[in-house]
Amino acid sequence: MSRLLAAIVGPRVPEDELRARRARYLAPTLTLMLARLLLLVSVFLPYWHMELVAPQYPNGLFLTAHVSHLSGDVREIDGLNHYIGMRPLGEAAAFERAAAVWAILAMFLLVEGAAFVHSRWATLLALPAATFPIAFLVDLHLWMRTFGLNLDPDAPLSSSVKPFVPTVIGEGGIGQFRTFADLGVGFWLAAASSALTIVGFYFHRRAYRPLTLRAGAERTGRAA
């Protein structure tokens, strides 16, 4: 069991080696630390915005998605959506929003763990954080698609507004509304975190792969 754990955690860095090549071993630690930091901060910032403009709303309506909640003119947008038979926004991605903070905390800890693990298994620990922004966008798109395509056929405006797929990024339109959607600061922080995680793993592998190989070779040697 301890051998298996040792195999997963990977070899430790000898003190003399660490002293000799401090930068090499510090690079992945620092990069991944920054990645974690950005991911954590992103929880508090908006991931996605949509502005809806119509003649009678000259100041626009705003919808802002954080990982954990929706804000802005949700009530007003829901009120308008009932005319086309769209379900209330609060019903979309309820599980994701409820789980998001815990999920990000888990990703934070996994990347934290990845910094300790020097074997290739570390990559697996970092995978959720690295792919999170993409997963967010895909999830958002799928929910919008589900909501847009499943309009209540008995809604008052069902004859003039047909099921549609709302635009997740960029300009779209529905009824008399033009919609402008873009990504928020939170998303960009998560994306930067993702990029840093990948860069961090380049440093990680560069630093620890030789150690792993050497340890493997030693084991093979001993066995032989």
Partner: protein, 702 residues
């Protein structure tokens, strides 16, 4: 084989930084982020105008076709508001016999809104809320409804002598009432009836910090609604001035802390509170020092002659701080339950002095520095200017020329008079600008006179002091006039409104009843340049006075602060039904309806009661979008509400007319506005008796 301590320390540091960053993230306010996004689509900045030969040609062609001259084109350019552009000033005007207040944008002169005050107004749902309607209750006098008023003088609340944009007060001359309007939602919140007098005139004027709202009387009667024959005019009839205490926190007049002063039966006219140099005084004109009691039917001279016989009337000078102290010291006597400082007390305490003024004057207006009191002659071509320093000195040195029949000391005219300036025929009211000019309306001349002030104002323009500079004709019979913040301690100049009472030929004929003419004058240039640049017909009531406030001083709500807001209490109402709490419940013969209104339905849509039931109906407009207003009416039951976004309303009535009554939204709220309706079913007694078993349950909602 261990990681170094320094890395650990670094990690701890990073964790702290992460948490710090997270906190910063929380601080980054989402609203401001949205606001900055909103601004993205803001109004385009105006580009400098370049007129090409082609433009000039087009303008010339239009001007020729429409018979406009260059002055007309300039006037149009000064007043035209492109769509979406907001006016710089708001004019709050009395609505005269309409019993309302009107808000008008300046310089465009577009009517923005009416505010119902003393008259029920159906669009605003003002006074159409069943039996316990607090508006209807507040409109009762001596227990009976009085459904109109004659609004005369609006008064914006002041702080340090400046309009603060928070409250608006207005007097009802016909019934001696004062109303309080909250300028956050532009709704009347309170109406107080003067317990002493039937009618008034000198209302409303505020002291410089809105400590009191002044309501001066007019036609003398027996105080406290009493009776005495006209033969006892001098003995029994009295004038009065009431000082209503305003409680800013509650947003209400505090009747318990208000008091009045008994005055001789000289018909008190316009009033104004002193400011700066004259702070602490109230000035009131009068115009029947003769104490004529009329009686044209008995061969006596009519009032118009009798009340204009003497050469002089009395400017009343009241030290209101001393009066307040006397009131607080218990020196008032209760009349009709209201504390009144009697004349002999006023004389004994030195609260009241008279200054002679040329006969039957009208307006009394105080210069921005408070130094001069200007009394307009009405029947005299002069304005008479008094200096507050002279007045104070004369009081201190007791420079009296005598006393009146009630023992009130009369200050020596020459001791208090600064100067008299001849302006023309029928001077009525005076306003001020920022360049040392005063503006007086000349009723008979149908003109606005611009003249120069003296004292510290001398240096502000190149004209000689105390001289008439310009008379601009207005159409016609100007009453009040109003310059931009022109009765405050710091007038803005720029614009002046002539409230012309006759329009005669100015507009298309509208039958024998003609609109008033609100004329806008450009007073931004000094000297003789003071053109009329706009005529606005106002075909509702006969307005008297108006005040012009800088629009950015108003802190108007766009929608009510929270859904379920009670505008009467200005707070969230615990009884306001929320979504999910709708329903109809019965207890005995009392039915409670909890309803919500949202685009585009009422919930519930069917309300069933029995004939004779008392129905209490509560509605919350569950809306937060600006202008998403609903109405609610039940035809034949005289009920109509205006339910502005977030507003909660409650009304009670007896369902005494059996039948099926559609109720509907009276404000075109949405594409499905016509569908926003429901039925109010009132089961006739005979039918409900047979259904008695069914109806005995607690809930009768469908």
């Amino acid at each position: 084989m261990k990681t170094t301590g320094s890395t650990f320390r670094f990690r701890t540091l990073a964790m702290t930084a992460a948490l710090g960053g997270a906190c910063l993230g929380m601080l980054a306010p989402e609203a401001s982020a949205q606001e900055s996004r909103r601004r993205r689509g803001g109004a385009e900045a105006a580009k400098p105008v370049e007129l090409t030969a082609e433009h000039v040609g087009l303008l010339t062609k239009i001007a020729d076709e429409r018979r406009l001259n260059v002055d007309d084109l300039l006037a149009a350019a000064k007043t035209f508001m492109p769509s979406g552009r907001h006016d710089e000033y708001v004019l709050f005007s009395s609505g005269g016999q309409s019993g309302q207040v009107f808000a008008i944008g300046v310089p465009s002169m577009r009517l923005l809104r009416s505010i119902a005050v003393f008259t029920p107004e159906s669009w605003q749902g003002y006074g159409f809320s069943g039996d316990n309607d607090h508006v209807a209750e507040s409109l009762k006098i001596m227990g009976k409804p009085v459904l109109w008023g004659d609004t005369h003088h609006p008064a914006l609340s002041e702080t340090g002598g400046e309009y603060d944009g928070e409250w608006l007060f207005i007097g009802d001359k016909a019934n001696a009432r004062v109303a309080v309007i909250d300028l956050r939602d532009w709704e009347t919140k309170q109406i107080v009836k003067n317990p002493l007098t039937i009618s008034d005139h000198g209302a409303a004027f505020v002291t410089p910090d809105t400590e009191y709202i002044v309501e001066g009387g007019q036609y003398a009667t027996v105080l406290g609604y009493g009776y005495a024959p006209p033969e006892q005019y001098k003995e029994a009839y009295r004038g009065m001035v009431t000082l209503w205490k305003f409680d800013r926190v509650k947003g209400r007049i505090d009747e318990a802390r208000s008091f009045a002063l008994e005055l001789p039966p000289y018909w008190q006219d316009l009033a104004d509170a002193g400011k700066r140099a004259s702070d602490g005084f109230i000035f009131i004109n009068s115009f029947n020092a003769e104490m004529a009691a009329g009686g044209v039917e008995r061969g006596e001279p009519p009032f118009e002659a009798g009340a204009s016989k003497r050469d002089m009337d009395y400017l009343h000078i009241i030290d209101w701080r001393k009066a307040e102290a006397a009131f607080k010291a218990g020196k008032a006597k209760a009349i009709n339950g209201f504390p009144v400082i009697m004349l002999e007390t006023s004389v004994a305490e030195g609260l009241l002095h008279f200054a002679p003024e040329p006969k039957s004057p009208h307006g009394v207006d105080i210069t921005p520095n408070g130094q001069f009191i200007i009394v307009a002659g009405k029947l005299d071509p002069h304005v008479t200017v008094y200096s507050i320093d002279r007045v104070k000195r004369a009081i201190a040195e007791k420079k009296f020329s005598g006393q009146d029949a009630y023992g009130v000391p009369i200050l020596d005219f020459d001791a208090v008079k600064e100067v008299q300036v001849e302006l023309g025929l029928g001077p009525l009211h005076t306003q001020f600008d920022d360049k040392g000019y005063a503006y007086t309306s000349l009723f008979l001349d149908s003109a606005v006179a611009r003249w120069t002030l003296g004292g510290e104002y001398e240096s502000l323009n190149s004209d000689r002091p105390w001289k008439l500079v310009q008379k601009t004709p207005v159409q016609y019979n100007i009453g009040h006039l109003s310059a931009a913040e022109g009765d405050t301690v710091s007038p803005d100049g720029r614009y002046l409104i002539s409230m012309s009472k006759w329009s005669v030929d100015r507009f298309l004929p509208t039958g024998p009843l003609l609109p008033q003419n609100f004329q806008l004058l450009d007073i931004s240039q000094p000297g003789a340049t003071m053109p009329v640049i706009y005529d606005m017909p106002l075909g509702v009531g006969e307005p008297h006075y108006c005040q012009m406030i800088k629009a950015d001083k108003l802190k108007t709500w766009k929608v009510y602060p929270e859904v379920g807001w009670n505008p009467h209490t200005q707070r969230l109402d615990p009884n306001a039904p929320r979504q999910g709490q709708e329903g109809v419940t019965r207890s005995g013969d009392h039915v409670l309806v909890n309803m919500t209104a949202v685009r585009s339905h009422f919930h519930p849509e069917h309300v069933e009661v029995n004939e004779g039931d008392t129905v209490t109906w509560r509605i919350t407009a569950v809306e937060t979008a600006q202008d998403a207003t609903h109405g609610f009416c039940i035809g034949a039951y005289n009920i109509n509400l205006s339910l502005e976004p977030g507003e909660f309303a409650e009304f009670t009535f007896v369902a005494d007319k059996p039948g099926t009554y559609p109720f509907y939204c009276t404000e075109f709220c949405s594409a499905l506005h016509l569908e926003m309706m429901g039925y109010f079913h009132v089961k006739p007694k005979a039918v409900s008796a047979t259904d008695a078993d069914e109806a005995s349950g607690a809930v009768v909602a469908r």
